[in-house]
Amino acid sequence: MNRLRILFARILEALRPRRVEDDLADEVQSHLDHLTDELVRRGMSRDDARAAARRQFGGVDQTFEAVRDRRGFPRLDATVRDVRYAARLLMKSRAFTITAVLTLALGIGVNTAIFSFVNAVILQPLPYPGADRLISLWEGRVGAPPAQDTSRGTSIAHDMPPARSAVAPANLVDYRTLSSYFTGLAGVATVGHNLTGAGTPERLLGEEVTSNYFSVLGVAPALGRTFDASEDQPGAAPVAIISAGLWQARFGMDDRILGRTITLDNTPYEIVGVMPAGFTSAMQFTNSDPVAFWTPAAYPPDLLANHGDHEINVVGRLASGVSLASAQSALTIVSEDLAKRFPRSNSTCRAFLTPLRDDIVSKVRSSFVILITTVSAILLIACVNVANLLLVRAVARRREMAVRVALGAGRSRVMTELITESLVLAAFACAVGVGFAEITRRLLVAAAPATIPRLAGVSLDWRVLAFAALVSLVTGLGFGLLPAWQAGRARPVDALRSSERVVAGTWVMRWRNALMVVEIALSTILLTGAGLMLKSLVLLNGVDLGFRPDQVLTANVNLPETRYRTADDRLQFFDAIAARLSSQPGVESVAFANRFPLRGGWETGVSVDGVVLPGDGSIDVACQAVSPQYFQTLGIPLVRGRLLTPADVKATEPVAVVSDEFSRKVLAGGDPIGRRIRRAPTAPWITIVGVVHDVRRDGRESVMMPQVFLAAAQTQLYPVRIADLAVRTSAEPKALAGAIRAAVLDVDPNQPITAVRTLDEILTARAAERRFETLLFFLFAVLALVLAVVGIFGVVSYAVSQRTPEIGIRMALGADGTRILRWLIGRTAVVVVIGAAAGVAASLLLSKFVAALLFQVQPRDETVYALSAGLLAMVALLTTAIAARAATKVDPTTALRGD
């Protein structure tokens, strides 16, 4: 109580320090006057009395000090004074302050911006209650025997991480017996359905989930209910839960939605619930298309009998008190038991658990680690620069410091003051840096590819701001300690005795050179990294796709089996569409296929008549069923033989066209025309009639696969359905989207179309992540280089100014400007070479971490290393030369006269 009262009184006093101070002075004066009066009364002269009164009072100043210690918060006052003093000093040397603050702000800014990404994407918990107990369960192949892939001469090593696959619903039944470890395990699979009924037909993305899915996530619907346990059984009445988005778009947020039906692929589903607006499904974080509905997953008996049919994702919630490790070991026992019971499908299949959040962010985590390292390096360079600037300042102020130390200011006091100055500088930089961070964050969010999960949550929240403050604090201490320490070491005698230049300690110079080495090394590392990424991008863009992606608009028309039962039905539909579109102005050709390149596909093993293939006698090829116009539409040139024609129909002999890679890989370069292939011993033989140019179907980063093009008119022979449409145009391809939609609706008003994209768009989106990463690295490397240049310029200019007398002597002794320049550059060159060498060595050590980000570039690519080290050395020496030119302008007489 008493303490609280005293504290309160002190706070009040701290708020009006001036009044307290004046009051004390008056009071002490009053006391002395009274005492003097008394002494005069006793017979002393007034002057003597005054002196005696002072003696009797004791130390007046001590009393002041003692009272000040009691009043207010003296230590805080001192700090406030220091801060004010530092701020005033910084304001005075504006050029220094602006340079230092901008340099640091850049470092703090990029770090804060990247941290805002890390915070939102990786660190934030998922938006579910008790999200830390949510796990992802997946199956993987372990210890698989080495693949007999002699064609590529590689084999899968045994210590490889398990190859991940989806979960077989049949196995999930067994995993669910572990009810003491999991409060629930839920299956979820993404599905696409055509929504018909009121309004335009639409292709919607949805999820088939087991009835416990929502309770596992711990999210209740905004309206209605979730599924009950009877609803995910085969034969149950079809019900659906819809998203808030669909509720708004299709039903105008009608409260009486429950009990109404939506028609998905011609089946009416009763709506039993609406999810809340903020709900994100667990599989949806990287998905740019929103999930619009959920239906119960009724796994049919034949699927539940097939333990090798991996089809679903599984999320689960650990029971309270159960650790991930114990749940994993229980799960391993179950999956080993499954392996014994079903050796054919499960001998190498095991189940694994990963925390759901880790599972969602695992893909971006490694990139982020590299990014964080990069921006830390930039911050370090910024710190080195500012430490250098402060050293210059410290030398300039050495005499001031020495005088103060000589007059009795404690070393610790002087050092505290310098540290305070650094921290004030860091605080300015923090404020500016947060501004930079916000700008950077906006730019990055805008430029980031949609494949990065949880991008929407990237913001400068209190965590990010706290991070910025912490980084600034550490930074301030980091660059402030060295100069402060140096000031603490200064011996006043030295500084006072001599003129400035004589004391320019070699000690300082050594530190500055060391800092420069660090700076150059760090810049070299970043430049090398950026060079490797850039070269990857260049190589990637140079890869020949084998088809012309420009001017081609593609769309998906997923015909439901309920209305288009046979291959002929579908063929008729697509022929009708193609006929309508061909007559449109600007259309050069129209083609259809099961899938177009870059849009998925069908890979299968085929055997070749009369050729003995290694392994099981078949070779994996990419198959597609295509219309005759396909080659013209995609611009794939014929090499030999003939293309598919409208004459290749159901009734005629099954024919195929293959790519060059097929001849090379299967026939060792022999002519495939006339040879026959088949998918399985029971499948019909297909005769090869032509060879086309090689095609990288899955984009530039994919491995080259042998391609087999089958006739769309003969799809009844193949397990694929025609579903993709492509139009080559002479005008802007996007403009044809409306025409395609109209043509489809004209043929079937209940048929939606989806994924209307140009091939160029798909390619751009494919490379988005790589481009984004490369862009970031490139920008960071440039930033590092700029900072390094600023740093080198500062160091050299300072060295020149410091060596002015020496230069004067040399010039007086006959050295000309060129020689002086050469001498100065030579001194820096040593530092630059050491720095660049250290950078190259460090890059070599770090190279394995960037390997995953590279495309067809060795992480130790000599050209890139040589170029980046060379570029850096050149820029550094050029900077040195420019900074050193001042030396050639030295007038020997002035220089020697000194100060």
């Binding site: 008056d26 009053s30 009691r70």
Partner: protein, 115 residues
């Protein structure tokens, strides 16, 4: 025998200040110092300045209140008045002092009786 001024314990000084204000009513710092010196029969030579940190503490604790006024010498002076809280504190302190003094006295007496 004059007692060295450093021997005056902080607690004792507080007690003496409070008692002075209790007896004499509102007093300024000089008056308090004089009173303490007089009461000690001039055995206690205060460094009068040491009074002020103690007064600050008493004021902050709310045991005394300070007001500027005019002294008997017709000079401006800051007068300290005992507050009711201060009066309570004084009796508590005094009781405590008596207890301590009693213990020390008994202790010394006992020590003398048993050589």
């Amino acid at each position: 025998m004059a007692i060295d001024k450093t021997d005056v314990l902080q607690g004792t000084l507080v007690l003496m200040i409070l008692k002075t204000l209790d007896t004499l009513g509102p007093q300024h710092g000089y008056g308090i110092a004089r009173r303490i010196e007089q009461m000690s029969g001039d055995q206690l030579q205060l460094n009068q300045g040491t009074l002020y940190p103690a007064l600050v503490r008493l004021e902050q604790a709310g045991w005394v209140r300070a007001r500027w006024g005019v002294s008997e010498n017709n000079r401006r002076a800051k007068f300290y008045t005992l507050t009711p809280r201060g009066a309570r504190q004084l009796s508590a302190e005094a009781r405590r002092w008596e207890t301590v003094a009693g213990i020390v006295e008994r202790f010394l007496g006992a020590a003398e009786r048993q050589p």
